[in-house]
Subunit: 124 residues, 2 copies
């Protein structure tokens, strides 16, 4: 069972989701988690590994990301897999784009960005 049914994302509930999404990505730990999941799906324990905080804390962060729709979690056996759900960022992205025409993403720059800024903390 995926905790976050896809159909719900686009119905009325979408409005205040901007709150939830922006609040979720305002935290550096959670941004790092998202960056990690960009490369691959991960189990909760593996997500937690590079961070200097308890598993329970990471578990809470994952709940917040899930409620924001930014990831989904599926339990297979005793491990719960976390999967990035990039679509959830679309509405937020659209909102931001309204404030200026940002040039199309420079992938080189983005990659450097990932390295210096978004990598899990043990790499900084």
């Amino acid at each position: 069972m995926v905790d976050q049914p896809a159909a719900l994302w686009f119905s009325g509930a979408m409005s205040n989701d901007l709150d939830t999404v922006f609040a979720a990505i305002a935290d550096p730990t959670r941004r790092s988690i998202l960056a990690m999941l960009l490369e691959d799906d991960m189990a909760v324990t593996d997500v937690a590994e590079p961070f200097d905080m308890s598993l329970a804390a990471i578990s809470k962060h994952l709940v917040i990301l899930t409620k924001a729709g930014l990831i989904s979690q599926e339990k297979r056996g005793r491990v719960k897999w976390c999967k990035l759900e990039p679509d959830a960022m679309r509405a937020a992205s659209v909102w931001m784009q309204g404030f200026g025409q940002f040039e199309p993403v420079n992938l080189d720059a983005f990659e450097r960005f990932l390295e210096t800024e978004l990598a899990p903390p043990d790499e900084r």
Copy 2:
């Protein structure tokens, strides 16, 4: 300077600015303020007018937006003018774009968004 930045945006100082920017726009009041300033520069009192909260509260919100670089404030005479600074959202936007190829801005969608989500509270 709008076009220079790639190198600058991604180097050190930029890091915690993502925190600040995302935290700033996570608040609906502040998003409304930004939307209002999208149309025109405004004095603090005028910004506050449509909201059901004290001037001091709005003043605090404006400080937060200023610290995030999302607006600037200039005092002329006794009135302090607030001006949108859209560039501050660029790094944040780039970060988000990394999570999916969002189609180039859909203006219709954005306009609907403005109406339902970003209009000052007296219009909702």
